[in-house]
């Protein structure tokens, strides 16, 4: 059980870093924003594992949904591709 959890944490950490690199490197801004929302998803799971359910809930509502949405709206109002 504990071993499974540890392995999961390591896998998630790798996903987290990959998502962050993806968000920074990706030229398509919409995809990059999806990357940041993936970071928030992983963080929210991490917060839950670290016994912080309040924070996990906040990160899920704000980081995954609202923050992503305001980015997406802004990209819609401006342009989608990084030069």
């Amino acid at each position: 059980m504990i071993v499974a959890l540890t392995i999961m944490v390591y896998v998630l950490a790798v996903i987290l870093i990959i998502a962050a690199l993806f968000a920074v490197k990706q030229k398509d801004l919409l995809l990059a924003v999806i990357g940041t929302s993936a970071i928030s998803v992983v963080l929210s799971i991490f917060f839950y594992i670290l016994q912080a359910p309040d924070v996990a809930l906040t990160e899920a509502a704000i980081g995954v949904a609202l923050s992503t949405i305001i980015f997406v709206i802004t990209i819609k109002k401006t342009e989608r591709y990084e030069e």
């Binding site: 359910p53 309040d54 996990a56 809930l57 906040t58 509502a61 704000i62 949904a65 609202l66 949405i69 305001i70 709206i73 802004t74 819609k76 109002k77 401006t78």
Partner: protein, 226 residues
């Protein structure tokens, strides 16, 4: 060139961060003020959720500041985007399935949000989470219906009213108690809905305020002309 310099600087910073953090062992129980809160929360505040008692009572002043930051962000955003607001959001209706689904889910999301902030002192969650959930519900309706509008007048009223009640609760602590934001209501029995004195009231005000502010913020952003 710029990249090399950036990597160099960040390398130094990363090194110092790592070495500082290696002196803070992970998962070890440190003697902090947190211990005091854990031991006394139920007795002193009547809230079984320690986070809530810290956020609303022990460090309630931070929360007032935090609510102010959101208020400020929505004010600032409205000021910056002031004169390029369009009348209508120019978007198509979503498909029928999405619309029906949205209509079904919308009240449930609002209800969930309200539940989260009303039970902030008992279960995980509270004003911020509840308010954010409500805003996502409204967002869903924005996305599905072109005609869905929120009344700005009422948003303003709600927002201001909630903010004023927060400060007024604070000041009434100063009048009838000894200090700003002091709990002046009976604590009640822990783990019951009506307990923890002013904590749930403040958290409900926070929830309403956050919900209204985020909704206003999204509405303002969506109405900007491209």
């Amino acid at each position: 060139m710029r990249k090399v310099l950036a990597v160099f600087l960040l390398g130094i910073m990363g090194f110092y961060l790592f070495s500082s953090f290696s002196e803070i062992p992970f998962g070890e129980n440190r003697a902090t003020v947190g211990d005091y809160y854990l031991e006394n929360t139920v007795l002193q505040t009547g809230s079984v959720n320690t986070i809530t008692s810290i956020v609303v009572s022990y460090r309630g002043f931070d929360t007032l500041g935090e609510v102010t930051v959101l208020f400020l962000a929505s004010t600032g955003l409205a000021a910056i985007l002031f004169d390029n607001k369009g009348r209508k959001r120019r978007r198509q209706h979503a498909s029928l399935i999405v619309r029906v689904g949205a209509h079904l889910i919308y009240p449930l999301i609002i209800l969930l949000g309200a539940y989260v902030f009303i039970h902030g002192h008992l279960t995980p969650g509270g004003g911020f989470q509840g308010g954010a959930i409500i805003a996502t519900g409204v967002l869903l309706m924005f996305m599905s219906y072109r005609s869905f509008e929120v009344s700005h007048k009422w948003l303003t009223y709600l927002e201001s009213f909630a903010g004023i009640s927060f400060v007024t609760i604070g000041l009434s602590g100063l009048i009838w108690g000894e200090s700003f934001l002091q709990n002046i209501l009976p604590l009640g029995v822990p783990n019951e809905l009506f307990s923890a004195g002013v904590i749930p009231i403040i958290y409900i005000a926070v929830g309403i305020k956050v919900g209204a502010e985020l909704t206003g913020l999204l509405d303002n952003l969506l109405k900007t002309i491209k």
